[in-house]
Symmetry: C2
């Protein structure tokens, strides 16, 4: 699930103003392979390497993506697409990380327009995780563990009124099998057996952070599937002959088949293969993110020389990969980051507080490595098991300690909504820290863009929700949650590096229920929170100023505990209230603030306008997605002006 | 999980104005047994029967409760309390249904004040499902599958800073093991093994509706636990010697122990034992609810005569059970019900629409039996597996059918919040039907009182939320969702029989975005929804009328799709807007309506007041719980008057 929000490729070339050179194999090279008179096996091997090369290109160009699992599953997925699927059949990846690998195959086979390979993680391009609006993507994945349930729905649905004879092939991760939903989905097949569902476990041993066995060992996977009533085969997931025969065996079965495919994460590029990690190396480097330019070039060379050698030996003459110069992605200059601030804050607070940190396989993304290293006895690695993590935290709190639960906001809040509520219903305080919050980064797509976490959290009795505006407030928020708040707290964090004004950067207080007046103004009050929109609000003020409208900007970290007396004071005589937020408006701060202000009599004769996310977030580069949703400073200013003058 | 909202005992005696006679064993009789010089085994057998008798009393008096599993687990739980638990140890039931059985033991042993046996499911009494505010209840349960996670939290917490040597004993149901959270919770013990957690599966073969094997077969449970790395024993859960030896064996182990206890649901009263069901009988009758008077008396007689015979044989002279006369619970007269209307509506619509119904082990409560009987090929029994159910529905929708998903609102929405969001993010419409919605019935307690379902549902793109006001609108809402709405719908249903005025009863339209003006008035507009508060609103209007305030009542089934033009018209010149709701106010209609009205300019110069649930719902009888939360007509009227005049 990891989504390292680095800009490694672009950072490596940020000095290079003339762009950087990448390369890919054109579709005609794939066609030469598929049309060649060679064995199915040789075809699959060669095709898979071409697809690996293009996957590398797509991820390098996008600046992020999941290389490791795209490569580990490539041989299997290639075989399925070249030799197994009938028109009525469906293949999808339950984990969805490996989307770039899948796209590289689908573009080569005209399931997707070939030119889409240039559009990974771009608006109207190929989404970071699968989305049904992309041709060939059958269902939305990216949130883990749902694959078999989805397969059952397809198979049952196809057969309720018509005998469609369809089959479903589901690829799962191995770390993904830590999710309870996966095991839940296996149970009911006992009462509705079918051999039309085949699960292939891409057992590449490495999950987001490190080895599955170290995170939360899956034990005897074969025995587990068997105990749940499935047929099971364990195979070498890079041996084409065995991939072929194991898949073929499904036809003779009465039960669903699970193929546990032993694979190598990063397979096909020697230094990316997990088996090349030395014994000292704790974390795998190519799960998400993008390689730097040196790594990119080295990997290309390795794959292309293998392609050249093998194609020559088969008598196929392939053209070299086509070169293309791309503009580097511009990372914000002097950007501020919250996760390192959080990492430091929890370390400091742990010195004198009985803190226990719980993680769901995201130590690299949530800043927990220093804590884990310094306080191993107070660190619980739960694996990809948010429900389990949250419920454990609830009873740890009852033993008198202070559990702090970590994951991406999108998974923490809604995968464990019932468990958080259960904790909220009993004594004991739990601190929830949700990172990767909000619509940005927009590259991973809507499974990861958390613009709905307030929705659930607002229904938790006693929960205080805080979104810090800068790194200083990250530390202050955690300190308040640990040392001052007697109830539970949800701290919502931005994971991308973000631009700041000097004023925003300098905020170093956290007064209960209050925020900051960033820009005193007399016409309109704009209430916002968090770093990204607090910054944009400043740009909006500039535009409004040029239109002779004076904007009063209030930024507050207190999402649901606002001091209405203070608010009354700071909104003064302004004639309109605008809320601006990094969340769905109807279930976010917009509704909450306006309702509370109305009830307190603060809206008499004032217009109101709620601006935020109003539909499913788009995938793309951050700037283009903000624009799509009408959230650039210019667009926001226009909406405000129309309402103000209307 | 079932919560049949019948009033069987009280209905049976509703003609009996002089009250009905129940009986229970006093604490001194329990003391005679615990202090007797008899074997531990005989003590446990006799104590368990006394406790069964008092459990029966508690449930009969409360009018509801879970007899079947209280009885099946009684021998095991008695043994644990009499012989196993040290002071630092914890026992709890993960399913929590069996709370009455547990309370009967705890009151006998002074863990709870004995007089609490008269207060099951009453305000400040003993909650319907366990709550930490009750002495001896270690954690809140009732929402299924969380037990092992909670046990891990206790054990790890106890040991992070101090070596407490505590142990945790967790009872689980068998149907409960269909929940994915349960299997998720087992995984991580591989990396943090402990023998301080012992799980006893109350394997009584019957879940809420019927046989576990027919709902969603668990298959080889022993193999499953073993595959997940646990030690396993399979025992007769009513054989005290074996209960003793199997529990004792935990000390010599290095891994956690699962004891699969074969038990009989309803054990101890012959006609309640599931083994007495004849082969034609599909549904078990004593899972939840209360027995009728005849059944009650028959059961008492059977238990008491066994107690008499056995105590005499042991030379213990026990007094007879003490008699007590209780007032029957008053069921509303001529009450209207939604579930039968729903049962008829889905049956009718299925004739000409490609509907598929999915259920999570609640056909008795959700009205699906007629559908299941008539369209068995379009019915999917998912078992207690809401995540799996919802994800299946999502892909069934993609095959072109119309899946309708059923459960209690409390479980459907928040256990599957992530899966509902995933469905909402892809094409295809799904209809979600959540029953047992709102604060009433208040007897089951906060795990079942769904006053937070809008919270999650408001964050689902494209979702229309409807709460019908009467039986007519149940049918109209489903018809609209099936035949007219192209996107997904959430229909929220009241499960208790409810009082209606003639006007409320007669509503038989469902105009998109609009509602009904129930009581035109000129001073204040009260906006509400659903049958219970639409009725109470009428009572509020009467009180206000006596205070010369004219209340304009608007009741609308459209929770999040309100026609603001219509609303502007019907609120007219009223000077204040009150929202009244069966949900948390901050994350409910209160905030949503006020924000939308403010934005549309409908609140200029108007006061607002949001009334609804503001803290965790209390357990108790419906009337006393409404009063606790300030939601009687009188209390509501007072709040309105103060605000109006203030």
């Amino acid at each position: 699930m990891g989504e390292q929000t680095s800009y490694s490729l672009s950072e490596a070339v940020s000095e290079n103003t003339s762009g950087i050179e990448l390369s890919y194999y054109t579709q005609s090279e794939f066609n030469k392979v598929t049309q060649a008179s060679i064995s199915k096996k040789d075809k699959a091997i060669l095709f898979a390497d071409l697809a690996r090369y293009n996957t590398l290109y797509m991820i390098a160009k996008a600046g992020s993506g999941h290389l490791g699992s795209s490569f580990s599953s490539m041989d299997i997925v290639t075989w399925i697409y070249l030799n197994i699927l009938k028109e009525s059949d469906r293949y999808f990846s339950s984990k969805g990380h490996d989307a770039p690998g899948l796209y590289s195959i689908q573009t080569a086979l005209n399931i997707l327009p070939f030119e889409k390979i240039h559009q990974l993680r771009r608006l109207n391009g190929l989404t970071g995780h699968p989305d049904v609006h992309t041709p060939g993507s059958h269902t939305n994945t990216g949130s883990l563990g749902m694959g078999v349930s989805k397969a059952k729905g397809f198979i049952y649905g196809d057969n309720f009124f018509n005998e469609k004879n369809s089959e479903v092939f589901v690829l799962t991760g191995d770390g993904e099998l830590q999710e309870g939903h996966f095991w839940e989905s296996l149970v009911s097949l006992a009462n509705r057996p079918t051999n039309r569902i085949t699960v292939i476990v891409d057992h590449n041993k490495i999950q987001s952070d490190t080895y599955v066995k170290d995170v939360s060992d899956l034990g005897d996977l074969e025995a587990k599937f068997k105990a749940f009533g499935w047929d099971v085969l364990k195979i070498d997931g890079h041996d084409i002959d065995i991939i072929d025969s194991s898949l073929a065996s499904r036809k003779d079965r009465t039960k669903p088949l699970a193929i546990i495919a032993d694979t190598i994460k990063g397979k096909g590029v020697s230094f990316m293969e997990h088996t090349s990690m030395d014994s000292e190396q704790e974390y795998y480097a190519y799960h998400s993110g993008a390689p730097n330019l040196e790594e990119y070039n080295k990997a290309c060379k390795e794959i292309s020389s293998r392609i050249e050698t093998f194609s020559n030996s088969l008598g196929i003459s392939l053209d070299s990969a086509a070169n293309i110069v791309i503009e580097p992605i511009s990372a914000p200059k002097n950007a501020e980051k919250m996760i390192p601030a959080y990492a430091e804050a929890i370390l400091n607070l742990a010195e004198k507080n009985n803190i226990v940190a719980l993680d769901a396989d995201l130590v690299l993304d949530t800043g927990l490595i220093p804590f884990k290293d310094k306080f191993p006895d107070r660190f619980i690695e739960c694996g990809i098991a948010e429900q389990d993590m949250v419920s454990q935290a609830g009873t740890i709190a009852l033993t008198g300690l202070i559990p702090i639960v970590h994951s991406f906001a999108c998974f923490l809040v809604t995968r464990a909504a019932e468990q958080i509520y259960n904790n909220a219903s009993q004594k004991g305080k739990v601190i929830y820290v949700g990172s990767l919050a909000g619509i940005l980064p927009a590259g991973p797509g809507h499974s990861h863009q958390s613009v709905r976490d307030f929705t659930c959290m607002l229904g938790m009795p006693g929960m205080t929700i805080i979104e810090p505006v800068n790194a200083n407030q990250v530390a202050l928020a955690l300190k308040w949650a640990v040392e001052n708040n007697s109830e539970s707290t949800y701290i919502r964090l931005t994971s991308i590096p973000f631009q700041q004004t000097e004023l925003l950067h300098s905020i170093d207080t956290l007064d209960h229920g209050k925020g900051e007046v960033l820009n005193p103004g007399k016409d309109i009050t704009l209430i916002t929170y968090g770093p990204i929109f607090s910054f944009i609000a400043g740009e909006v003020a500039e535009i409004l100023k040029n239109n002779d409208i004076s904007l009063n900007i209030i930024s507050t970290p207190w999402i649901n505990k606002i001091d209405l007396g203070w608010l009354e004071e700071v909104i003064g005589e302004t004639k309109m209230i605008v809320t601006l937020e990094n969340h769905y408006t109807e279930s976010g701060v917009g509704s909450l603030y306006i309702a509370n202000m109305a009830s307190a009599g603060l809206l008499m004769n004032k217009k109101t306008l709620n601006i935020g996310i109003e539909e499913l977030p788009q995938c793309g580069r951050n700037e283009e997605v903000l624009e799509y949703h009408g959230l650039t400073a210019k667009q926001i200013a226009e909406r405000i002006i129309i309402k103000f003058n209307g």
